[in-house]
């Protein structure tokens, strides 16, 4: 036991280096893998297991939560569903193919590195140190939501910009990039703030509501959600300052291109489907579309899916399961939800946003 305790400290820092060997060892240990390439991939393990283990946060409005019928819902959850639909080539009863794992911000990276989860779809910001092999050594799929850190202040505090934070107390979730961003931005402009740290964002907003701090910093999407839930939303103001770029997306371990490509091109397929105008409702019809690009995209012709080691028509199953990116967005965080966050940077590149997929051909 003593050994385990002392190891825990060293293992926390060593998790990044041991991660690739762990994940590579698991399929090899289970025996022969169907991979023709000879390199055992997490994809084969998942197919063999028959279930995708998807790490989600579980308590973020619009992104992952449990609805009253006991089902997981949210944008991050729909990304898990899309990946499962692609891997298992089915769109029926997709939740039976997924095991959701709740992970808080301190547990998520060790869980991914140790192979506890296959993919993390959990509001994780893509940063260089998390991607670099000398850092966390993870592989990031395309951004599923472009966010940015904002600051929610009480109207009574009169804070208008970052300089106004001088000497004020700010509630912040610990172990996240928001904590680091707040520290570096305030240091940059020579402002000192009292950070009041919390393990989870719900506790932080509760403290803000009770007046224990004059400001609360988090990603703007979260702040928008939390603000609508305040007893008097008009008493809180989201100031214009944006402290960071927060591209949030699914994450896999490094050194497993076969698996990370599947995750990447599931995300891209959602975006491309929106660009082609393919929706959950019309995907069956679109199979007959004469456009060769769409025929290729939906696997009517060509070898698109097979190249990834998936069924050739995996895009059809993905769209059948969750719809295209626009549908996923509007249902969970946009017009179809209570959050009503505008598309903004999350619009298609053709509409002035940042959502752009490489061509499927």
């Amino acid at each position: 036991m003593l050994l385990a305790v002392t190891l825990s400290v060293s293992a926390l820092s060593a998790c990044t280096t041991s991660a690739p060997t762990d994940t590579a060892a698991s399929p090899a240990a289970t025996g022969e893998s169907p991979a023709a390439t000879g390199v055992a991939s997490r994809l084969d393990t998942i197919i063999q297991r028959g279930k995708l283990i998807c790490g989600v946060e579980g308590t973020i409005p619009g992104f992952s939560f449990v609805d009253s019928s006991g089902k997981y819902s949210g944008l991050d959850v729909d990304v898990c569903r899309a990946i499962a639909a692609a891997v298992f080539d089915t769109s029926a009863d997709i939740d039976s193919k997924i095991e959701y794992r709740n992970l808080d911000s301190t547990a998520r990276f060790p869980a991914l590195a140790s192979g506890e989860v296959d993919v993390l779809s959990r509001n994780t910001t893509w940063t260089s140190s998390r991607d670099a092999t000398g850092g966390n050594g993870f592989d990031f799929a395309p951004t599923s939501f472009y966010d940015g850190q904002g600051i929610l202040v009480t109207k009574a505090s009169g804070i208008k910009d970052l300089k106004g934070l001088q000497g004020k107390s700010v509630c912040v979730e610990t172990g996240t990039t928001t904590e680091l961003n707040l520290a570096s931005r305030t240091k940059e402009i020579g402002v000192t703030v009292n950070e009041v740290k919390f393990q989870d964002s719900n506790a932080a907003i509760a403290a803000f509501q009770e007046g224990r701090c004059e400001a609360f910093t988090s990603d703007r999407s979260q702040l928008a959600a939390k603000r609508t839930a305040l007893p008097n939303p008009d008493d809180a103001v989201l100031i214009d300052a944006v402290l960071s770029k927060e591209p949030l997306g699914p994450v896999t371990v490094n050194n497993d291109s076969k698996w990370s490509d599947v995750v990447k091109f599931t995300m891209y397929a959602l975006i491309q489907a929106e660009e082609f105008g393919i929706t959950q409702a019309n995907v069956a019809e679109k199979l007959k579309d004469p456009n060769p690009d769409i025929q290729n995209f939906l696997g009517v012709q060509g070898e698109l899916g097979k190249q990834f080691g998936l069924a050739n028509d995996y895009v059809v199953k993905v769209v059948e399961a969750v719809g295209n990116y626009g549908e996923v967005y509007e249902r969970n965080v946009g017009k179809g939800s209570d959050l009503k966050i505008g598309r903004g940077p999350n619009n298609l590149w053709t509409n002035g946003g940042l959502m752009y997929s490489p061509p499927f051909r």
Partner: protein, 404 residues
């Protein structure tokens, strides 16, 4: 009939020695300082209560409770399999009833006035519960099952001498039936442990951890008192190390670090890991509680028993442990109660216990910001659980009380 009394004996009449006003004067306003304290604290108390009632009836939006009731109780257990949870509840209720009847076979009235009052209160709560009518009927049926079981248990224990033994075996078997009902297999649809949640998971982890940590704790306590140096050293090191590490660190090691040490294809169930952590942790504390009990038994007891020719296991099992455990009941139950509350820490490793599932409900955009209602509700659930344990332990103490 006396009409007058001698004036010399008359003093001021003792009108206010009994009754509510006298009590208040004696206990709350017996001096200027006490009066001041009473007024200040009383006004604070009244203001808080009025404020709470005002909040509960106007500001609070209670619909977050009834609309998510299944989640609080069984988490994400598949709704078409809820009948298994009811079957489980009924099995436990029937067994509890039978045990109650067995324990009170020598009591003149099984259903005393206090019991009947409590039954009445429970029945009213069940009838008024904010759930669909069938559920309320099922709850009432459960209550009926307990009462019927109690009556049958009392009758059976008076007619069948070996009924108590049968009951103990039934309790042992019930654990495996519980596992079968919860996990499925053998003809039932399998339910993954990730779908267990809410009160169901909290209770399951508490009960299994309590049952497992008790023998382990007793063994450690005896080991620490052992005359064998190796056993004593190992027990002492274990107890001191585990007590020196926070439970949350143990759980974190179990949930996050363990996979690094295990071969890649071995995946231990998360619930199992949490139970493992809780059991190992509580056993260390329990060992010290039991050791306290052991030390309260005079050495003469053990010496007398060896003088009678009993060997060490018999001395321990028949003479020392029964007395030591009886002494240690309050602190052991205290440890169990804190174990029940410690199960909320498993939410940190992602298990959907009562605490975590409440947070997941609070993240539903429909219920954002309803913290007070939800936390108050689960607070009441925990209070009921812990108070029931505390009440049970007092009953046990009263039953085991021997007049010296």
């Amino acid at each position: 009939m006396t009409t007058t009394s001698p004036p010399s004996f008359s003093t001021r009449p003792d009108v206010a020695q009994i009754g509510a006003i006298a009590w208040v004067r004696k206990h709350l306003f017996s001096g200027w300082f006490n009066s001041l304290v009473t007024v200040v604290l009383g006004s604070l108390l009244i203001r808080s209560i009025v404020g709470f009632i005002g909040w509960a009836t106007t500001t609070a939006q209670w619909k977050v409770i009834p609309e998510n009731l299944p989640l609080y109780f069984v988490g994400q257990f598949p709704p078409d399999q809820y009948w298994r949870i009811w079957a489980l509840l009924w099995m436990i209720s029937a067994l509890s009833g039978l045990t109650w009847g067995n324990l009170s076979q020598n009591v003149p009235h099984l259903f005393s006035r206090t019991v009947l009052i409590w039954v009445g209160i429970l029945a009213v709560i069940f009838v008024l519960a904010p759930t669909p009518l069938p559920y309320r009927l099922l709850l009432l049926a459960t209550l009926g099952l307990v009462l019927g079981g109690a009556w049958a248990g009392r009758y059976l224990s008076q007619s069948l001498p070996s009924f108590g033994l049968g009951l103990a075996i039934a309790w042992g078997l019930s654990f495996f039936i519980m596992l079968w009902l919860m996990a499925g297999g053998f003809g039932l649809k399998p339910v993954s442990t990730t779908a267990w949640g809410g009160l169901l998971l909290t209770l399951f982890m508490s009960v299994v951890s309590i049952v497992l940590c008790f023998p382990l704790g007793v063994a450690l306590a005896l080991g620490r008192q052992s005359t064998l140096p190796v056993v004593r050293l190992l027990s002492t090191v274990y107890i001191e190390v585990v007590r020196g590490v926070p439970l949350i660190a143990l759980l974190f090691i179990g949930a996050v670090m363990l996979p690094f040490f295990l071969p890649g294809n071995v995946r231990l169930d998360l619930v199992l890991r949490a139970i493992f952590g809780l059991t190992l942790f509580s056993a260390a504390y329990l060992a010290e509680n039991v050791r306290g009990g052991l030390q309260s038994i005079p050495r003469g007891q053990a010496e007398a028993s060896s003088a009678l020719g009993l060997n060490t296991p018999l001395t321990l099992g028949l003479i020392v442990l029964p007395q030591a455990l009886k002494v240690a009941i309050p602190s052991i139950v205290g440890q169990f109660i804190s174990l029940v509350q410690d199960t909320t820490l498993v939410s940190i490793i992602g298990l959907s216990d009562l605490m975590r599932i409440s947070r997941a409900v609070l993240a539903n955009p429909l219920y954002i910001g309803r913290y007070a209602e939800v936390y108050l509700f689960i607070g009441v659930i925990f209070w009921v659980l812990c108070y029931a344990m505390s009440w049970g332990s007092r009953q046990l103490e009263a039953r085991l009380k021997t007049t010296n």
